[in-house]
Symmetry: D2
Subunit: 424 residues, 4 copies
């Protein structure tokens, strides 16, 4: 693989010439975040840039998705993917380029919007890499596919592109690669073979009580008490039913019941998120939720069956061992000790929908966005959890560099494992 790393280094010589533009692009994206399915400004910037760089560009794929294809002779086809959407979070980073954007969400409410998950860095890094590959065609051979996906946060963006005929737009792909910025030290990349990001299911549960005036509990079936008992009981799934050596998360992210202090309402709505790394555990947890909710309704004498609605499923991100081994070797060659084995994460990601639909192996890695000195200090004082903002937090703020450089380098180095001209 020395060959591929050498070729990557050659391509990356252009980075100095791209950096200023890339940073400006990142700052612009960060201050103009767009909610899932609304990434049209971002898509236009992406499509314009790819066009300028000489890519064949497909827009409007699955809504606002953009695909750029650069054919450069014979050889493998590598797909690189970035996601583009932001979140309904009010930014409190205090950055000069912090977002003040407010948009109307899918339910018609005006909400603040923020790139709280770092997808702006993903876009900027992939645009930079796309430019470098276009500028350095003499160092590689094959076809590069750069894919910019909408609506990762709502888990339906990748599926949307697939459903919209993504496969028909592409030559036969050999491998798919993607990355995510994480609250790990900027300058590092983290790899993981096998199940890396969790499968995630969202579930809405409606339980029924019998409403009454707040002074007459005996005439009611109190859904607030019922919902509280369910939340309490659900804790026992992870604490007692899942094997301790198995990873799983069951979060009740939302509980809503009633609207006045003195009226016992007639229903409660819970929204759950379930994360697992195997189908067996996933099924066991979903079954246990049903069992517990139904039984708690029975304990309350609920007058109607509870309702269960699944929504927003993320697939498991299960990195191919061979692809991961090859990328790891290349990263180690390029980044040295800054490439490390990252532990399994509990986050979720819909990237794998794309390679699954295309029938190709994939790997997905992390790159650091946290100020390295701050991270070390936090680590030394055992305060990483408290001091380093995580994805989705309103103060999540990757340092611009070396975050963008490393994100760009990682894409080039990984793709070059397949694309580097063999005889160096």
């Amino acid at each position: 693989m020395t060959g591929s790393t050498k070729a990557a280094e050659d391509v990356l010589k252009g980075l100095a010439g791209v950096r200023t533009w890339q940073q400006d692009c990142y700052v612009d994206l960060h201050s103009h975040p767009e909610l899932s399915h609304q990434e049209f400004r971002t898509a236009r910037i992406v499509a314009d840039r790819l066009g300028v760089s000489g890519y064949q560009v497909h827009t409007g794929v699955g809504g606002s998705g953009v695909v750029g294809v650069l054919a450069n002779g014979s050889g493998p086809t590598v797909l690189l993917r970035a996601d583009m959407d932001a979140l309904p979070v009010r930014e409190v980073t205090g950055l000069p380029y912090a977002s003040t954007v407010r948009s109307t969400d899918a339910e018609g409410h005006e909400v603040p919007v923020m790139h709280a998950c770092g997808h702006d860095a993903h876009v900027a890094a992939l645009l930079g890499a796309a430019q470098l590959f276009a500028d350095g065609t003499e160092h590689w051979s094959g076809t590069l596919v750069t894919l910019f996906q909408p609506a990762e946060e709502t888990s339906d963006g990748a599926r949307g592109m697939v459903a919209d005929g993504l496969a028909d737009l592409l030559p036969k792909v050999d491998v798919a690669l993607a990355q995510h910025v994480f609250p790990i030290p900027a300058g590092t990349v983290g790899v993981h073979s096998g199940p890396f990001m969790a499968s995630a299911d969202s579930m809405r549960i409606t339980v029924h009580g019998r409403g009454a005036h707040g002074s007459m509990p005996q005439a009611s079936v109190d859904p607030v008490v019922l919902a509280a008992m369910i939340v309490v009981r659900l804790q026992t799934i992870v604490s007692r039913e899942v094997a301790p050596t198995e990873s799983a998360v069951l979060t009740v992210g939302s509980i809503q019941s009633g609207s006045a202090s003195n009226v016992i309402p007639d229903r409660a709505v819970l929204e759950l998120n379930i994360r697992t790394y195997s189908d067996t555990t996933r099924t066991a947890i979903l079954d246990a939720i049903q069992r517990i909710v139904r039984a708690e309704c029975a304990a309350s004498g609920s007058p109607a069956e509870p309702e269960f609605e699944m929504f927003g499923r993320f697939p498991l991100t299960d990195n191919d061992s061979d692809v991961t081994a090859r990328v790891t070797e290349a990263f180690t060659g390029f980044f040295g000790d800054s490439c490390w084995q990252m532990p399994q994460g509990t986050g979720s990601e819909d990237f794998s929908e794309i390679p699954s639909a295309l029938g190709v192996p994939y790997t997905y890695w992390g790159f650091g966005g946290a100020d390295a000195a701050k991270f070390r200090a936090a680590s030394d004082s055992g305060r990483v959890a408290q001091d380093i903002p995580v994805n989705h937090a309103p103060n999540f703020a990757p340092v611009i560099q070396p975050t963008l450089d490393v994100g760009t380098q990682a894409l080039v180095v990984a793709a070059m494992v397949w694309l580097a001209r063999s005889p160096q």
Copy 2:
């Protein structure tokens, strides 16, 4: 008291002439319900009618409150009170005159509105009684005050009239009387000496967690779990801390936390309603709530102190024993066995703010609105709780008669205890 009953019967001879108009008025009010503090249409109807009947009329007392005064020679002054406001409830009675009204509530939301507590019957009964007293001045002597109060449901209407100078509008009052329609058999009146309706306090509790992505519970302090534990723990106040022979209610009418399945929120808000019949128990419960909420926050490692906000306090309705005895005797004389000793109720009422402010004794009684045959059938099958709709329920629908007749009769008979010309 035979004298007073006789005089009441004389006044009530006019009822046949009032009934049709009174029923129309009730149906009109029922299909035009108005939220608390918005009872302006109702107030105008009331003021117009009182004016026609020859009362001196004060409008705009504490917002939309109306006071009518009819001076009829020397003698005691009796205050009769009715409340006028409706509730944000969507009516499902199926009545031909059911409300389809929607209004904008105090928080700017559009909500359905319904006379789900029967205040329309209170207004119609008092207007009818006012007319009868005006028509039958030869049978009584003294001064009659008819008071139509706004905003009973929000517990600040009586206080608002007092604060707006009610006392200055009135001659010296000797006794205050009020009534409420209840889901007891129409045709009956229920009296109770001593504490009858509960004191009620509303409390908003905000507890603080630490938000995080739904996949990272270990980075969070989960406010959904915290709020659920609080709801569960609060049950032990009534079950273990209040003496079994003491009546008390603690209802959590609302629980709200989070807005997405996969985000652990950073706070939860609970709204509680507490009903008691003594200051000792009230204080003990409020103290226990604080103790439990603070401790559960500590158990969760909550990062900030919980916040407690009291709102919407109803006073105790503690019927004067002498006034109640006199009214009971008159009712028994007039209604016979249809006057009964009603047990303590857990509902609340702000009427007592008015006699408290005026420094006069009072009694407050119930009159029936439930179809008597249906009630008997439900009672025989032990299904009163299930089959007879209660106040505030969306299917609460008093039968028009004998509800209005009895409501009117009760007001006349009770007031006549003080107003009847002594030598008949």
Copy 3:
């Protein structure tokens, strides 16, 4: 009734002559407490004394029960009842005559024994009254039955005497009277018409889990968690299902599961006590317990149905209104303001089994055992609950006087309502 009080006063002139012996008897009984069904020493003392006083004595009635009958001419027959058994409690009163007795209980365990419920005072008072009636036959006419009952604490002593043919031993009884020493000021008697002491049911619930090593919760159904959830859920019966104006108690007095920290056990056993004042509420609570326990077992995936075993039922003590009114009038005549209306209690009592079996009306009253000065101080500082030991507590210690005097006087005054010679 002046007549009966006068006659009672005449009989009570003998009290001074009885007091020393009566106090010695009380101290002796207090330091020789006997567990339920083991009251043979007490019974012998009672029988000997009754014999000396000239009563016809029946022993061994329902085990250790004793009945003394004194026929004194024509007139009504009055039954006075005292209970004799003590409790498995280790006395910590520090009294010079405190019990140090240890006995073997019904399950073969050696336990400490104490008169923690004051039955020794009941026996001493009734023996004193029996003597006074025997000494003062000229002041009354009729038949006096003094009944000394075993095993009140286990709720089967009265039933045992009935089953053993009590009715056949007695002439036709007209009224039955009984009393209990309570933590109210010594010197006072408390009366109550209607439901006074609760009906009480004991229930043993066994729930089944699946045992496993403590490290393998996923292989288990954890009965400790299940039992805890049941205890928590049962609180909602009183807090939400019983009407606030209805009195009820549900106590889980015992929870037992497991014997080692690192082994998940396979079952848990709960013992409950349920107290109510009406059959409707009793049935509703028993149904709710079954509903909740079964549902919680379902929520846990329990491998076997829970088992419910009822034991130790106490009947309702529902004082006859006429009998109570007559006794109250006599008490008021004798004790003045020291006779008061005592509120409903939540304790239970099996006395009513006897009048129920005999088909006669009854009343049951309380007399004070607490030092009056201490009680007043505790009351003034709002610390009665903390400072005044209650029945069954290891520091329950009635003051000897005026407790015994008042207990004796109350029995004489009450019985004389029926027995006093009419023409005084």
Copy 4:
């Protein structure tokens, strides 16, 4: 390592001659189980056998511990360890050689005793291996230490041998090896590098209430409710506070409060078992337990601080990566595919106290005891958890063969990694 496997095979040629005796020994041990610290019969059998085999034997080490040393020329010293104690479990295997033994435990109670954890197989396997090494000295060089430890179940047997001067009895040891029979298919061995068995802590928690009669909850602080809330709340530590990717177990193995249905007790006792794989997690959990228990006591208004007593700590079993790699290579050479990577377990083990005290690296592996055909059938139907009895279960019953053969072979093959004569 071909050399070591070849030498192991040579030594294992003697297995056929040992097998009958070894099986008899196993059956004898199984039907004569001895509780922790009482393994004197077992120790005598072990010591006799080692003596006959020519080992230098130390008995009474840390109670009933036995150490046999066989010096066989120059070379490394390998320590092989087996544990000897049984459990207070009533055997229900139905085996012809099932235990019917009852013994008096440390607290003076008579309890049934069973080899429910398979230590009998450990002893039999190590005795067999000891004999084979003694018979085949020509194939190896160095020193073999066979250590038979008491009281593994109570976690103090290894510590007891160390404290009793174990180090002084031994030559300098180079490596320590141990094994455990598990409910995996007989015929297989499972290896694991790094943290394999959990550290385990036992904790006794006493919480204080205020006792009262069961009818007077308002006079009590109910410790049954308090203990139940604690059990419920403790579930949130694993469900919400431990990172999903981190393994941890918190079991409440015992809850005890009260002894009668109608008496509210004054305390409750919980026994907890906590299993973790890192000091950070262990400390976090112990801190969280204290935080939660103290807060729940505050929520109840507990009159006294809770008490926490730690007992029975097991260390982490953290297999040395180098030693494990060498043993794994030898096992793979000998057992082929029947050697597999076993996942982290949640059980605990005190073996590591010995190598920790001696300052030597170690590995600890599992060998199968479950009937292979049954296991496969259970696995195919997804019913392993239900159908295959686990350690400590009353129906845990390893099949005699190939369990004993494989246990013996594993010891020989592993030890030979260090002891095989290098030039073959």
